[in-house]
């Protein structure tokens, strides 16, 4: 069991997890301080409203504390909590019968295509708003929460093929939206000559 420590800020996540597993709640508080925003952002990107995202993120951290001994340090701590949070959010949607509505939701404001606003650099959050809810959810689960297509399909209770096509369509739209400005591309290629 780790010794008594008063300053947790200098410790690595895995060490903090060991302290948390020994019942040290301040160590877990430090983990929440470090990674709380990342988990909350992921939930917002999945489509949760900020208040709901915060609720689910808090539940996810509480669940992570309860199950901290299951974390073996094989992946990152934040990745582990993100998966817990994503699944909790999906369960909440399912309970409120909002999950089925996801698949029927319409796409957002822009179409995929090479000419779609490529010169205007926008951030990921803005780009995600242009995806249909199901595409946004699938892309966020696979690229934000680190779930495989199979895991996402199971979590969403959707056929694997459906998840794959949501991801594909979502990526096509994001690629068009997040493409580097044409001027940057040409400058880059000039630099390589």
């Amino acid at each position: 069991m780790p010794g008594v420590i008063t300053n947790f800020a200098s410790l690595h996540d895995v060490e903090l997890c060991a302290h948390a597993a020994a019942g040290e709640r301040r160590a877990f508080g430090e983990l929440a301080r470090r990674h709380g925003s990342a988990v909350r952002y992921l939930l917002r990107r999945m489509g949760a409203q900020p208040a709901e995202a915060d609720d689910v993120a808090q539940d996810a951290f509480m669940a992570a504390f309860e199950r901290i001994t299951e974390f073996r340090g094989e992946g990152t701590f934040v990745g582990w909590v993100k998966k817990i949070a994503a699944r909790l959010y999906l369960r909440r949607l399912q309970k409120a019968r909002r999950l089925a509505a996801l698949a029927e939701a319409e796409a957002g404001g822009f179409e995929a295509g090479p000419a779609a606003d490529a010169d205007k650099r926008i951030d990921l959050d803005e780009a995600l708003k242009g995806l249909a809810a199901a595409e946004r959810m699938c892309v966020s689960l696979c690229f934000g929460a680190g779930l495989s297509h199979q895991e996402a399909a199971e979590a969403l209770n959707l056929p694997l093929g459906t998840v794959k096509s949501h991801v594909k369509r979502g990526l096509d739209k994001l690629r068009a939206r997040l493409a580097p400005p044409a001027s940057a591309v040409s400058a880059g290629s000039r630099g390589n000559v």
Binding site: R26, F28, A32, G36, S37, Y41, M62, D123, G144, L178
Partner: protein, 124 residues
């Protein structure tokens, strides 16, 4: 940009999240919630321990153990009368061997069982 490059870029973008302005507040809320949960758990464990202790002591009473202690107390009283001439400490032995003895033993049994049960539940 190749598909793999774009996938990696997207993963990076998802991983790069700015700190939310109320990040410290959020973490403090989690620490508070954990402390609340811990306090509630300690009370529950303590209550479960006391209930278990009372039940255990009740079983001891029902099994007639204290009647046997009482009869042993009679023997102790005879012994203490002999010892009374040697030391005044024998008064205590005499008091314990009287009517108070079983109650003190019962109380101690409740405390011991409550403590033991609390420890066991906490370990579980």
């Amino acid at each position: 940009m190749s598909e793999i490059d774009f996938d990696r870029r997207l993963e990076r973008l998802f991983a790069e999240t700015p700190e939310l302005p109320d990040g410290a507040q959020f973490a403090a809320g989690i620490e508070r919630a954990l402390s609340r949960g811990w306090t509630a758990r300690r009370w529950l464990i303590g209550a479960a321990g006391v209930v278990g202790g009372v039940i255990g002591a009740g079983q001891l009473f029902a099994s007639g153990l204290f009647a046997r202690v009482e009869s042993a107390g009679q023997s102790a009283r005879v012994l203490s009368e002999g010892l009374a001439q040697v030391t005044s400490g024998a008064d205590m032995v005499s008091a314990l061997s009287g009517g108070l003895g079983p109650w003190i033993a019962g109380g101690l049994a409740i405390l011991t069982l409550a403590f033991a049960l609390s420890r066991v539940i906490e370990e579980i």
